[in-house]
C-alpha cells in the first residue's frame, strides 16, 4: 500500500517562500480572511522562522510547514462530524460538505496547519479563482476549516492516469515540491523502501515535529 510522505532538507531550504506562493495559487486560498477582526492572507503552507541560540551566537532556522498528515492525527480524533478522515494512502483530508466549522481541529492540531475560512468573500477575492487544484477556499466552502492536502487532486489524477507520484521518483508531485528552486523538498511513498524519501530518511539525520505527542507525522526534516 502506498503511504505518502514528504522530506524537507533544511540545509538546502533558502526560505524563498516559493512553496507558500505555489500552494496559495494551486489551492486558490483567499486573499483575505476576516477572522477575529484581523485581515490576513490564508496560507495552507507556511515557512516558520525559529530562533536558535542566544546573543551573540543567535541564528534563525527556516522550516517549511505543510500539513504533517499525521498517522495518529489529533484532528481526525477530535472532529465531531467525522469530516476529517485518514485515507489509506496516508492523506488526512476534510469533507467540506460535512465540516461545521467548530474549529476543534484548529486547537487540537499541534502544528497549527488548519485555517478557518470565516470570510464572506466573492470568487474574485480568492488568489486564483481558476486554479486547477483544490478550490476549498472559494465559495461555497465558507465557514469551514481548510488545510494542506498534499495536493490530493494531483495525486488522484495521477493515480487515475496510471502515472507515478513522487519527487524525484515519479512524474507528478505536489505544487510546493514542484517549484522549490533549491531542490530541498522530496515527496514519495514512505512504504516503498526504494523511494528517495525513504533513502534520505535512512541516510541522513532527520527529525519530525513534536514527536513526543505521538502523532507520528509523515513529514521528515533533514538536518
Amino acid at each position: 500500500m502506498v503511504k505518502y510522505g514528504m522530506v524537507i532538507d533544511l540545509d538546502r531550504c533558502i526560505a524563498c517562500q516559493a512553496c507558500t506562493i505555489a500552494c496559495n495559487s494551486e489551492n486558490n486560498t483567499s486573499v483575505e480572511l476576516d477572522y477575529d477582526k484581523v485581515r490576513l492572507g490564508v496560507s495552507w503552507h507556511r515557512v516558520l522562522a525559529v530562533e536558535k541560540g542566544e546573543y551573540p551566537n543567535a541564528s534563525v532556522e527556516y522550516i517549511p510547514r505543510p500539513c504533517q498528515h499525521c498517522e495518529n492525527a489529533p484532528c481526525v480524533q477530535v472532529c465531531p462530524t467525522a469530516a476529517r478522515r485518514k485515507r489509506e494512502d496516508g492523506l488526512v483530508l476534510i469533507d467540506y460538505d460535512t465540516c461545521i466549522g467548530c474549529r476543534y481541529c484548529l486547537v487540537a492540531c499541534p502544528y497549527g496547519v488548519n485555517v478557518f475560512n470565516a470570510a464572506n468573500l466573492k470568487k474574485e477575492e480568492y488568489r486564483n479563482p481558476d486554479a486547477a487544484g483544490n478550490n476549498a477556499g472559494s465559495p461555497p466552502y465558507q465557514g469551514v476549516v481548510e488545510k494542506c492536502t498534499f495536493c490530493v487532486h494531483r495525486i488522484d489524477k495521477a493515480v487515475k492516469e496510471g502515472k507515478k507520484m513522487g519527487n524525484p521518483d515519479g512524474e507528478v508531485t505536489t505544487a510546493c515540491n514542484q517549484v522549490c528552486p533549491a531542490g530541498a523538498r522530496f515527496f514519495g511513498d514512505l512504504d516503498d523502501p526504494n523511494s528517495t524519501v525513504n533513502k534520505l530518511i535512512a541516510k541522513r539525520s532527520s527529525m519530525r515535529m513534536k514527536e513526543h505527542l505521538g502523532t507520528n507525522p509523515q513529514v521528515y526534516y533533514l538536518k
Partner: protein, 308 residues
C-alpha cells in the same frame, strides 16, 4: 513567516459561556433532584426553580454554540464521531435538554412520581454534561495549558460552584418575591436558599487548591506551559488574581462563614449569601474565559533530531 508563539484566538468567550451554562444547568438540575428526593415539601421552591431553570440554561448554551460555529445549519452532523468529546458532549447535552423539558412539563402537569423518576435518570445524564467540557480541553495536547489532568477537575468544580450559586440565587429570588404574600412558603424558600452555604464554602476552598495546583502544573510543564504561566503573571494577572482568586474565591470564602454565624440570621444572612453567589459567578465566568485566553500555540517546537 511565522516566528513567535501565538495566543490561541480560535475559540473565544462563547466557548467559555457555552460550557459554563451547560455545566451550571446540569448542577442546578442535580441539586433540584437531590432536594426532591430528600425533603420535597420543605424545598419545593428550590426544586421547582431548579427544574424550570435547567433546560433553558442548557438551551442557551446550545444557542451560543451555534453562533460560534461556521456552519450552524449543519449542527446535526455533530453526533457523527462519538470518539470526539464534542460529539459525546452534544449527545449528553441534547438528552439533558429533552429530559429537562419533559421534567418541566411533568412539573406543570403535577405528575410527581414520573417526574421524580425522570429527574433521577436525567441527573445521570447531567453528570456527563458537567464533565465533558473538561475532557474537551483536557484532550488538547497541542495547547499545554489545556491538556493537563487538572483541567477536567477545574471545569467540574467551577460548574458545581456556579450551579450552587444559580440555584441559591433563584431560590432567594423566589423568597423576595413571595415574602410579602405567603408567609410559610417564603420562610421555607429562605431556609432553602441558605442550605448550600456549607457546601459552597467547601467547594470554593477546593477550587482554590485546584487553581493553585493548576498554576504549579503550568509552571513545571514544558516550554509552552511556561509561556502560558507567564501570561497569568503578565497582562491577564489582574483579572486572574483580582477577578478569579480574590473576587470569585477568597471573598466568598470569607463572606459565607459570616452568614453562618448566629447573629446573622434570616434575611441578613440571605443577602450575604446572595452577594457571595454573585461574586462566585463573576469569578467562575472569568476563570473559564481566562483558561481560553492563556492557551498558547507554538506551531513548531520540534523534538530532537533522530539518531541514525
Amino acid at each position: 513567516m511565522v516566528s513567535e508563539l501565538a495566543v490561541q484566538t480560535v475559540w473565544d468567550w462563547r466557548i467559555a459561556a457555552e460550557t459554563l451554562l451547560g455545566g451550571t444547568a446540569a448542577v442546578v438540575f442535580i441539586l433540584a433532584t437531590i432536594m426532591s428526593l430528600w425533603k420535597p415539601t420543605e424545598h419545593r421552591i428550590m426544586v421547582k426553580s431548579g427544574i424550570i431553570l435547567a433546560a433553558p440554561l442548557a438551551i442557551s448554551a446550545v444557542l451560543i454554540l451555534m453562533t460560534e460555529i461556521g456552519r450552524p445549519e449543519r449542527m446535526f452532523f455533530i453526533f457523527r464521531n462519538l470518539n470526539s468529546m464534542i460529539s459525546t458532549g452534544s449527545v449528553f447535552l441534547t438528552a439533558f435538554i429533552v429530559f429537562g423539558l419533559a421534567t418541566t412539563a411533568l412539573l406543570f402537569m403535577k405528575w410527581e412520581k414520573p417526574m421524580r423518576a425522570l429527574m433521577v435518570v436525567n441527573s445521570f445524564i447531567a453528570v456527563g454534561v458537567i464533565l465533558y467540557p473538561g475532557f474537551i480541553f483536557g484532550a488538547v495536547n497541542a495547547i499545554p495549558a489545556w491538556g493537563t489532568a487538572v483541567m477536567p477537575v477545574l471545569i467540574l468544580i467551577t460548574s458545581v460552584l456556579t450551579g450552587i450559586a444559580v440555584i441559591t440565587l433563584s431560590t432567594a429570588g423566589a423568597y423576595f418575591v413571595k415574602k410579602g404574600k405567603a408567609g410559610k412558603e417564603a420562610e421555607s424558600s429562605l431556609r432553602s436558599a441558605l442550605i448550600f452555604t456549607d457546601v459552597s464554602i467547601g467547594v470554593a476552598a477546593l477550587q482554590i487548591i485546584t487553581v493553585l495546583g493548576y498554576l504549579v502544573i503550568l509552571g513545571r510543564g514544558p516550554a509552552l506551559a511556561v509561556e502560558a504561566y507567564k501570561l497569568v503573571m503578565g497582562p491577564l494577572a489582574g483579572l486572574f488574581w483580582g477577578g478569579v482568586v480574590a473576587i470569585g474565591l477568597v471573598a466568598p470564602l470569607a463572606l459565607l462563614p459570616i452568614a453562618k454565624m448566629s447573629w446573622m440570621k434570616g434575611e441578613r444572612a440571605l443577602l450575604l449569601v446572595v452577594f457571595a453567589s454573585v461574586l462566585i459567578l463573576v469569578g467562575a465566568i472569568l476563570l473559564r474565559v481566562l483558561i481560553l485566553e492563556i492557551g498558547v500555540v507554538d506551531p513548531f517546537f520540534p523534538s530532537e533530531p533522530l539518531k541514525h
